[in-house]
Symmetry: C2
Subunit: 252 residues, 2 copies
DNA sequence: CTATAAACTTACCATTAGTAAGTTTTTAGA
DNA sequence: TCTAAAAACTTACTAATGGTAAGTTTATAG
């Protein structure tokens, strides 16, 4: 007998919720996918809070509100769990970049989209940087993580090169892109390791300084850059402040 | 009865050896110091080989040729052991920098001493970079490591600022020093995480590129830089290739 | 409604960090 | 040179952890 008061299990309820969320491009998620997402979120939080060494299955389960057994059911071992966390963080960065890129119409704006995507507040803060460094230390020992990392680096490098080609020769663009990529990594590391936090604004200012040194900068192009930065920052404030994006990202 | 054939224990033998080593500024080391040095070397090697997560007291002991108990006798827990490893790596960098600084006579050469100290082959290679990233992930969770790390950063930053003041205004020097510091960190991270190794030369070239962008570079000063780099590289080859230095460093 | 697959639970084992109490070796002092 | 204390080392143990395997419940396809 079916009644209006049919009881739901917790996972049915969550499944139901997830189906109702108005995210664009949302694939119907299996229970497994939902759980894996919840759990890799919790694992990220654990790594951020306790560090790699002190992150245990039990703590991850605790943060997700489930038992250690559930975590181990969905992830065969710690390596795979950390790979999932790593993949999750990186696709978050990718999605942010794509979102900002959509609104960038000039090469200059595309440059700034890359910068802002990397250092917007929701993405760049001490907790996240610390977790990133911890996860990075797994890269040499996981082919999976290596692939993700090189793909991410390659894409940022390629985007930078393309944008820079409008201001520099191919060779110079190539070199400048590498410098900016290294600088991005450096800022992320410092963001995690420096005792006082490194603000989003400070990070972006640092990138701006480098850009102005690397590009031929007369009066006009400086103003162009200022405008581009302002526009993309505004776009980011709107696009990355939206409910849909926040739901997906906020807890990271 | 004392005879010429009096047998020595292993640690007596090592102690004897260490006393005979012709290292300048060698303080007589207690057994404890010798052991701690051996063990933190072994721990570094373990972190480099297996990563932070897979580094156990037993493996460290194995690499040092002693039992796990000995390691735990000299280091109360893993955190303290890793702090010792971290301190050891950083003082190695410091000593190298001091050694090269002694031979640098102009501001330009001092700049290059900093660069070369950070990226000379004995110090900068994939294994070491990977280990450094692993150790870095401990920094947020150890006040000791934090202090070491900030001191190291502060010193490099200060050295850079002083040298740069001869080419730039105080403010510009300040900013350029920060950029170079960030770039150094970025190169170290990439050196560890990139799939293909990053050569010492490539790293130094990258720094040179940045220097030329940051400093006012006319024909003359470019030649000056080339000469300074060449001189310090040569000095490094001799000073850092010496038997005494090698003994201290080689196994890192 | 049923059979199969998937989610979850539980009890268990091997490894590991760390302790505590022992034995041996070294060192400092008479 | 002898002795007592300190330090080095060893061993046996515990608690926590990563991981397995087998069982039970829940979901789903036909």
């Amino acid at each position: 007998m079916v009644s209006l008061f049919t009881t739901f299990t917790a996972i049915q309820y969550e499944f139901c919720l997830s189906a109702l969320l108005p995210l664009k491009a949302k694939k119907t998620s299996s229970i497994r996918e939902i759980r894996r997402d919840q759990l890799s979120r919790a694992a990220f939080e654990a790594v951020a809070r306790y560090g790699l060494r002190r992150t245990t299955f039990e703590k991850v389960g605790e943060l997700a509100g489930v038992s250690k057994g559930v975590v181990l059911h969905h992830f065969p071992d710690k390596t795979v769990l950390l790979e999932a966390v790593f993949r999750r963080s990186n696709s978050l960065l990718s999605e942010t970049l794509v979102e900002l890129y959509r609104h960038a119409t000039t090469p200059c704006e595309r440059l700034w989209a890359i910068v802002i995507a990397n250092f917007f507040e929701t993405i760049f803060n001490q907790r996240v940087c610390q977790a990133w460094v911890s996860l990075a230390s797994e890269i040499p020992h996981s082919a999976q993580c290596q692939r993700i990392q090189s793909a991410c680096n390659a894409r940022i490098d390629s985007n930078l090169r393309h944008a820079l080609k409008h201001f520099l020769s191919t060779e110079d663009a190539h070199h400048a892109a590498r410098q900016l990529g290294l600088l991005i990594d450096g800022i992320w590391v410092r963001g995690g390791l420096q005792s006082g936090a490194l603000s989003s604004k400070a990070a972006i200012d640092e990138m701006e300084f480098a850009l102005l040194k690397l590009l031929p900068s007369d009066e006009g192009s400086v103003r162009q850059h200022r405008q581009a930065r302002k526009k993309i920052e505004k776009v980011a404030g709107i696009a990355l402040g939206s409910r849909a994006y926040q739901d997906r990202v906020l807890q990271l």
